[in-house]
Symmetry: D2
Subunit: 149 residues, 4 copies
């Protein structure tokens, strides 16, 4: 993933979240499954603000969901209550139905990678329960965040 | 709530759950919102095993939900990872649409109250979004757990 | 709780949070235990911004916690993904060690109460595991939010 | 991962969990971050029952944690409230400090893979905050679950 994508080729969606009491475990650090809640929140705001189509209307009106078919995460350094987690979200591949997302996790404005996540989501017709092509109105907005590997 | 209910008057539903890593906070004790997840699990098993009508079929087939309209909890003593939480569930009131539930929370087989919860649920037609009378087939099964205050 | 507290007597802390996918249940509405996570987040920001002493430093440096000893909640109307939950937090009583908090839950900028929470927290020496008087530097800041019932 | 490991070469730890209301999302299926909570519960019971050293004592008495340094998951088929998730846990690699775990997720006693997880955990001195060799008393118990790829 390019650190400094050219403005033409791609774009990254930057999203800050405060690490809260409820995210942390008896060791005082973020309990790792909570990072996936935090990444999901980033994806929701990216869809609403970056792609221009929020999940509430996508699910509620268009009956389209974006389930996750695979995800992987490397946890490099820990975060604690009071830290600010920054996720930089980029798109690494756009398929027919699927989109690959990458999240770089930074801490308190620093540039050190604390975790990274790679996720594949699929656009799905919720009534039929099967994958559908990425809607035409969303594809160019999604491709806007595509980075060249 | 009677500690030793007579067999005729009432019954209690006893449900044990292990306190896990994911329930605990940086102070090493159960983060209180997790107790409501644990109580919900007790209610689910009471509906399935005690009342004879599990939530999956109630929601999925009969389209009836049991939302919570009020809940209160006193946290008397803490629980930690590795403890076994026992909830003793009883019914304290049966209305037209509503049921009042009480949960006594005990630890590791002891009789000391560690927490208690009082909850009011309502039977609801999920399609119409409004309260309905407690279904006739469930009412006597629910009343079986009614305690005299 | 006064709706329009006089500026002298009290103050309310206003906190908005987006209802996300992770908060909602198979009925499409907020699963009630998640409201306690959301209220905890409001309390954390009130401590940091309203009282001037955030939980991370309170726990991490001063080794003081604020466990909840009782909580109750009325759920009046539902919230859904994409709604904005506003909590208006006020203080209803300040004891020696304890503070009573009230949260009015509003939706999307409206004034209709959707839920309300009353919570009692206690200042606690985490090392000794027992209640302590509210620290002198925090008491006046907390009393600033006290409303006359 | 061998489907039918020979009794000599390896062993699998089998763990069943009920999919509950709290695990499911507005689409009625398990919200994927909850699968990591469920896998963590399987790991906890494997440590306690399979390895013979539960996390509560490992953390609380020996001050050793087992943080996750990487995890990946493929979600093949969905699960719903009322389903029983079976995780078959095996060990795929034993390093100096690290252990690689694999979880096959099955539904309702079937043999169809619904999801699979690969996770790397590291034994860590919680006081020093650094990796340590797998404790000698635990290594053979862990290797008992090692499968030949």
């Amino acid at each position: 993933m390019a650190d400094e994508p050219s403005a033409q080729m791609n774009n990254k969606f930057v999203h800050d979240q405060l690490i809260r009491f409820s995210h942390c475990d008896p060791a005082g650090i973020v309990y790792f499954p909570r990072f996936f809640d935090l990444a999901h929140a980033t994806m929701e705001d990216w869809l609403a603000q970056g792609v221009g189509q929020g999940l509430p209307a996508l699910i509620g009106e268009r009956r389209i969901g974006t389930p996750t078919v695979s995800i992987q995460c490397d946890f490099v350094k820990t975060l604690r209550i009071g830290d600010t987690l920054r996720f930089e979200l980029t798109v690494t591949k756009v398929g027919n139905s699927s989109v690959n997302l990458a999240y770089r996790g930074l801490k308190n404005g620093g540039s050190d990678e604390h975790l990274n996540i790679r996720q594949t989501i699929v656009f799905m017709d919720l009534a039929a329960g099967r994958a559908i092509p990425i809607p035409d109105d969303l594809r160019p907005r999604i491709e806007h965040f595509l980075v060249q590997p």
